[in-house]
């Protein structure tokens, strides 16, 4: 193992254990698990980024700065179909201007049509890496991501009704900790079997028709609990079943894009960019399935989600589903969010009766 290279990818939900597996077992470099996001992270990020850039940029930048301070020297950024495309280059520029020295693996620069370009860029992470090793680590990484998504989905739907509090969360945290010490496919399989069984055997006391809420929004804000002020946890504590489909499995690994376009066709004839079509399709699905309410979160100024919001308003009118809209910037107060959530919960409760 190369001791000199310490790679880091910004904090994103619970996926850091999957990325760790890929980098340590595939690329053969050390992986720095990014420290959990705190107020300090976002302060660092927003101090050094442009004013009205979308909030995920500030989180990513803050994460990168913290990682660099902790000794990381190889950073990376993914690409997407919105402003995310330009995250990498601007982040690199800002960090270099701040005086840091590091390698930057920017996926937006790769020309995916040419194998040579892919290879050259992968070598930025580790010049002595072997592509075979990366390829052999990939299935397990995907497996880990899928398991995490599966577990989180189950937890989201049931954690509000568990008999002994915090039992599920403890099991999930233990699973993640064990995953951080996994180095082979066999170990992972064993862990998966063991912990899924543990999770499913947790005692729950679920009423026949609990309040169900759909959770939709833009890619980062929906998935990273800190950036949406732990709305999911708040809802779970109120005893609500939370539905959410936006995760890596549903969007990239088993892309349901064609299905999504078909569902959202009635409201959005074309591709309206990034994850907006997913948002529309999910909200429509929840409305048709008779969920009690939908919560829509987005970061400030997210162009595709603003356009989706117009459509969501129509869905709300057509299907008589209440939708609560949140727009998060780096300075939204937690109390305001809580108050609005409580009012929404009271309204749902009254409606149910």
């Amino acid at each position: 193992m190369n001791n000199e290279i310490l790679a880091c990818f910004p904090q994103w939900g619970s996926y850091s254990c999957a990325f760790r597996y890929l980098f340590e077992n595939g690329f053969g470099v050390k992986y720095l698990t990014p420290p959990p996001i705190t107020k300090n992270t976002i302060d660092l990020g927003s101090k050094n980024s442009p004013d009205y850039v979308c909030t995920p940029f500030k989180y990513c930048l803050g994460c990168h700065i913290e990682a660099l301070n902790n000794g990381a020297n190889c950073l990376m950024q993914i690409y997407g179909s919105c402003r995310l495309n330009y995250y990498g280059e601007l982040e690199e520029k800002i960090l270099k201007d701040m005086g840091y020295n590091f390698n930057f693996f920017n996926m937006a620069e790769i020309n995916f049509k040419s194998p040579k370009s892919i290879m050259n860029h992968l070598k930025i992470v580790n010049p002595n890496m072997s592509i075979l090793k990366v390829a052999s680590a990939l299935p397990t990484t995907i497996g880990i991501i899928k398991t995490i998504d599966k577990m989180e989905d189950y937890i989201r739907k049931n954690v509000g009704f568990e008999v002994n509090k915090n039992e599920m969360e403890n099991i999930f945290n233990e699973f993640k900790q064990k995953l951080d010490k996994t180095y082979s496919h066999k170990e992972y399989k064993k862990l998966k079997k063991e912990y899924l069984k543990k999770l499913y055997s947790v005692k729950i006391d679920k009423p026949k028709r609990p309040i169900r809420v759909g959770f939709v929004g833009d890619y980062y804000t929906v998935q990273e609990p800190f950036s949406n002020y732990f709305i999911e946890k708040e809802l779970e504590n109120m005893g609500i079943e939370v539905h959410r489909e936006m995760n890596l499995t549903n969007t990239i690994i088993n892309s349901k894009y064609k299905k999504v376009r078909k569902i959202s066709k009635k409201y959005a004839k074309f591709n309206i960019g990034a994850t907006a079509n997913y948002t529309v399709a999910e909200a429509l699905k929840y409305a048709k399935n008779g969920l009690d309410g939908i919560i829509h979160v987005k970061c400030f100024g997210c162009t595709p989600e603003i356009n989706a919001q117009t459509i969501l308003q129509n869905i709300s009118k057509d299907h008589k589903v209440p939708i609560l809209y949140f727009s998060f910037d780096s300075q939204t107060s937690e109390t305001g969010v809580k108050t609005r959530l409580e009012a929404f919960y009271d309204m749902l409760k009254a409606k149910k009766k």
């Binding site: 004013d51 850039v53 330009y86 074309f270 309206i272």
Partner: protein, 306 residues
């Protein structure tokens, strides 16, 4: 049949192409008037408050046109010169359809998407099919319209270059999107103020697009937006020939928020003024900032001459 063309967003990019195309086909059309306060106020009513100003203006124009014509012309353009456009241009159609759902608007559109080569013509061909116009007629009209647009752009860029070469006044490069700089409410007051201060504004948007976009790859590798590439390339090409640069941005423009930061970080030695325009009327603040910026440019130039 009467077609309404909103004087907003992509109209400023393709005005001759669209109007000439309908002229050649003998289709009657109206263009909404120049933006005024009423249009912006009406647009803001329909828009979600976080929407950017150009989209609010656009919705205001649609509101003006909604009962004055049979069809409203809203094309959807995904790619321009092999780069992406802002996501708002992709969502225009659905945005209008959903916002004005109760008015039963009929929308005429062409959908310029994908990477296959004669994209724009393919899109216009489908438009002709929808209008039940013969393909040959449509092709003829498109060619003439395209040529008109081409010569119009060439004329614009040559005039701008002439000004750069010959003018002895202080020259300022205005980096703003076509729909901002051409708009009577957003861009024109700034240009007028500059002219009043005896400064020659050079509009980057009117310079040759292909040349600019080609140059922009030297500056930034992964900038995804074609219209921003145009501006960055213009800055790279003409930065030594002008005295200063003004970035005109509408609040909260997505692409500009990142691109402007890059420009400011990349060109440390060029005097840059960044102006953000909101839906408010007060121009006194902008005027003051422009005056002080021009003063600095004046000092800089005189210092150089002595």
């Amino acid at each position: 049949m009467k077609i309404g063309i909103p004087r907003a967003l992509l109209y400023y990019k393709n005005e001759k192409l669209w109007t000439k195309f309908f002229d050649e086909l003998g289709i009657d059309y109206i263009i909404s008037p120049e933006t005024n306060k009423e249009i912006i106020d009406n647009g803001s009513k329909y828009a979600i408050d976080e929407t950017c100003l150009p989209i609010k203006i656009f919705l205001g124009h649609i509101d003006y046109l909604k009962d004055k014509c049979d069809y409203i012309f809203i094309p959807r353009i995904e790619y321009a010169l092999n780069s992406e456009t802002c996501l708002n241009f992709r969502a225009q159609y659905d945005l209008v359809k959903n916002t004005f759902r109760n008015y039963n608007l009929k929308i005429l559109f062409y959908n310029d998407y994908g990477h296959k080569k004669p994209r724009e013509f393919r899109a216009f061909y489908k438009l002709c099919k929808y209008l039940k116009i013969k393909k040959s007629l449509g092709k003829y009209a498109y060619r003439i319209a395209k040529q008109t647009q081409f010569y119009y752009e060439m004329f614009r860029s040559e005039t701008q270059e002439n000004v750069i070469k010959n003018s002895k006044k202080i020259k300022v490069l205005v980096l703003a999107h076509a729909y901002n700089v051409g708009d009577k409410y957003v861009g024109e007051p700034i240009l007028n103020m500059l002219k009043k201060l005896d400064v020659e504004p050079i509009i980057a948007e009117y310079l040759d697009a292909k040349k600019c976009i080609k140059t922009s790859f030297k500056v930034t590798k992964t900038l995804p937006w074609a219209y921003n590439r145009h501006l960055v390339g213009a800055l790279e090409l003409y930065k030594d020939l002008v005295d200063g640069v003004i970035l005109v941005t509408t609040y909260p423009c997505g692409p500009d928020s990142m691109c402007n930061e890059m420009i400011i970080r990349q060109y440390r030695d060029v005097p840059i003024l960044s102006l953000t325009i909101d839906a408010q009327d007060a121009t006194a603040g902008i005027e003051t900032r422009l005056e002080s910026f021009v003063d600095i440019l004046n000092f800089k130039r005189n210092g150089r001459n002595e």
